[in-house]
């Protein structure tokens, strides 16, 4: 009996000793990796914390908080088309969130007295851009390469994926853009549902 106990305790000590030794090695693994470990000066797809990874795994996202109470409604009412500000949408993958210069194209002249526009002008004069936050967009681990242009050319209305922005003030996530949503449409329109169409 004693022999057994000593054996087992030996195993434990060995494994712990081995662990501790190699742990130092492993944590230093890669002169390249080591230098960059944990510092914010590194770009990596790794989640900063375990909590974040859990949140993404479960698909929890905070709602976007915008620097200005931008109202889509009002702009649409003034016959301003989506493409006027989201310039990329017809020719490229990305629709693009307009920078402050785009705003000032008009607001250098129009509605200068409104409080929000005053804020806007102030920010512009300070030489800064607006820190808009994304409302939609896929998580990096979805590996989706969505391309706006072909959808626009296929006559898919913006509202299909972004909800009726014309009635929104600050845009909110009105549609849940999960894979099922994409597929329903692709199947209905009999366009490719090949994985590689969107995932690469």
């Amino acid at each position: 009996m004693r022999s057994i106990i000593t054996d087992l305790s030996l195993v434990v000590m060995a494994s712990v000793a081995v662990s501790s030794f190699f742990l130092n090695r492993a944590s230093l693994a890669g002169s390249f990796r080591k230098r960059i470990a944990g510092t914010p000066q590194v770009f990596t797809p790794a989640h900063p914390t375990v909590l974040d990874s859990a949140r993404e795994f479960l698909g929890w996202r905070d709602n976007a908080v915008q620097p200005l109470a931008f109202t889509h409604k009002r702009h649409v009412e003034n016959q301003i088309t989506c493409t006027a500000c989201h310039e990329g949408v017809q020719q490229s993958a990305i629709a693009g969130i307009p920078n402050i210069k785009v705003c000032m194209r008009c607001h250098a002249l129009f509605a200068k007295d409104r409080p929000e526009i005053k804020k806007l002008t102030a920010i512009f004069n300070s030489g800064l851009d607006l820190p808009w936050q994304r409302v939609y967009g896929f998580s990096p681990s979805a590996h989706v390469k969505f391309n706006h242009a072909p959808h626009i050319h296929a006559g898919v209305d913006c509202s299909t994926c972004h909800g009726d922005v014309t009635v929104m003030t600050v845009a909110v996530r009105a549609v849940n853009l999960n894979m099922g949503f994409c597929l329903r449409c692709h199947r209905a329109k009999q366009v490719s549902t090949d994985c590689i169409t969107c995932h690469f």
Binding site: I5, S15, S19, A29
Partner: protein
């Protein structure tokens, strides 16, 4: 008086004694027990911590690399699934063969199966690059309209192993029920309640006995093809791919034979420990070891035959890639491991098991320990060398395990021991009622008064006590 040679427990006559002996380990909680559990627990904990470390930093902390993408983890997977072939298969075969000497060993065998399966089934998950997505293997309807790929041997594995796990668990639990009932009746306090629940309201009625018997018969028949299929499919994980010395038709029987081989060895080791520490010398007499030893000898020869057949054909076929793998294991850096393996699986066991004098309990034990180690090496030598020498020499590479893999591997052995110790603590490790049946059959000719009295007051099958003929009839199928 005349005795059937394969009735190892014929000499036991006093049922109370049997009950006492076999319930004793369940009854008392010694400090020794806690000490063992604590030690094993620490090792297991170290294993889980290592896994946690791997989860956190990435699978790269393991030694796997290109082109050797599978290493210790898959080796352990195959090894433990192999071990799992000990119990169920053996006990099922012996049950059907109605070999009397099986009675004391069936349960400890079946337990090995269940636990080895549980441990083995962990490894496919541990070795994943993204274990948190493992649930994608489960076919469940989803909006994406995505299903797992049923053409993949890994999916076959998934189903085969689950089937086997369910099957063997049932096969283990069914015959325990009467013993739980016994424990319920013998104990008092929380134990009574505890075993009361587990015994699922077993009253030992004629009908219950009948159902139990039938169920056991059916399960015994079903479980054998399942067991065979499991390791066949595990072998196909390798044989289905165009990898030198994996892509072989011999693999399915080769793996199954190897599995049973290692399984029996594991069983013998387990029995030796039980015998020693639970003082079951009387209940696990040498004849069990002798018979198992013979079986092990047979498997050892079979194993050697398979290895020879596999390697001869490769060498004779002389296909570039295959031969370079062959020489890698035969003459290359892996040659030491190879010959150690041969020694463990044949060199050591053969004399110990072939020579009657040496086929003692300790003899079979040594042989078995050698075989367990040897079979682990065999799995390793099947997986790693082939991957490190694929078709394009430019892409060759070597594999070296890291502390993470080693720790986890060690931990699984500790884990097996731990589960076994705990099981033996809460469940009579030898099937009491089956034992008694064996006693009865042995001593049916003329029963001493004492025994008669025992039978009548036997709380297992009172009806049968009243009507011995009927009772006996049950068991003469």
């Amino acid at each position: 008086m005349p005795r059937t040679s394969d009735e190892p427990n014929a000499h036991l006559v006093n049922h109370d004694l049997v009950n006492k002996d076999l319930l004793r380990p369940v009854a008392l909680l010694s400090t020794r027990f806690f000490l063992v559990v604590a030690l094993l627990g620490m090792v297991v904990l170290a294993g889980f911590s290592a896994w946690g470390y791997q989860l956190y930093n990435g699978i790269g902390v393991a030694g796997i690399r290109r082109p050797v993408f599978w290493g210790f983890y898959i080796t352990n997977f195959v090894f433990w699934i192999g071990i799992s072939h000990a119990g169920t298969l053996i006990s099922a075969i012996l049950r059907l063969a109605n070999a009397g000497w099986r009675r004391p060993i069936t349960r400890c065998a079946e337990v090995i199966t269940v636990f080895a399966l549980l441990i083995g089934a962990m490894f496919p998950v541990i070795h994943l690059g993204r274990p948190w997505q493992a649930f994608w293997l489960i076919p469940y309807p989803n909006e994406r309209g995505l299903w797992p790929n049923y053409r993949s041997p890994l999916m076959w594995d998934f189903f085969a192993i689950n089937t086997y796990l369910i099957g063997s668990t049932t096969f283990l639990i069914l015959p325990i029920i009467p013993d739980f009932a016994l424990a319920r009746d013998k104990f008092s306090g929380w134990r009574k309640r505890f075993y009361g629940i587990l015994s699922l309201g077993w009253r030992g009625t004629q009908r219950q006995w009948h159902r139990l018997e039938t169920a056991m018969q059916i399960m015994a028949i079903i479980i054998i093809p399942v067991a065979v299929s499991v390791h066949t499919i595990v072998s196909w994980d390798f044989a289905m791919t165009p990898v030198p010395m994996w892509h072989s038709t011999i693999f399915a029987p080769y793996f199954v034979a190897g599995a049973i081989f290692s399984g029996i060895a594991a069983l013998i080791v387990a029995m030796v420990f039980l015998r020693r520490f639970l003082h079951l010398e009387e209940y696990l007499p040498p004849v069990c070891f002798d018979n198992l030893g013979k079986l092990l000898l047979l498997m050892s020869l079979l194993w050697l035959y398979f290895v020879f057949a596999e390697r001869l054909t490769v060498w004779y076929g002389n296909e570039t890639a295959e031969v370079s793998v062959l020489w890698l294991t035969q003459r290359g850096p892996y040659r030491y491991l190879f010959w150690i393996m041969v020694a463990c699986n044949f060199g050591i066991p053969f004399p110990l098991l072939a020579i009657k004098k040496l086929r003692t309990i300790s003899g079979t034990c040594i042989a078995s320990i050698a075989v367990v180690g040897g079979m682990w090496l065999e799995r390793y030598l099947i997986i790693v060398p082939s991957l490190s020498r694929k078709f394009l020499p430019y892409a060759w590479g070597t594999y070296r395990p890291t502390w993470v893999e080693i720790t986890i591997t060690v931990a699984t052995f500790a884990g097996m021991a731990l589960l076994y110790v705990l099981f033996a603590k809460f469940v009579p490790i030898i099937s009491i009622w089956e034992l008694k049946v064996g006693m009865r059959e042995a001593s049916e000719s003329e029963l001493p008064i004492v025994a008669q009295a025992d039978l009548r007051t036997d709380n297992i099958a009172p009806e049968r006590a009243n009507n011995q003929a009927g009772g006996r009839g049950q068991f003469q199928k």
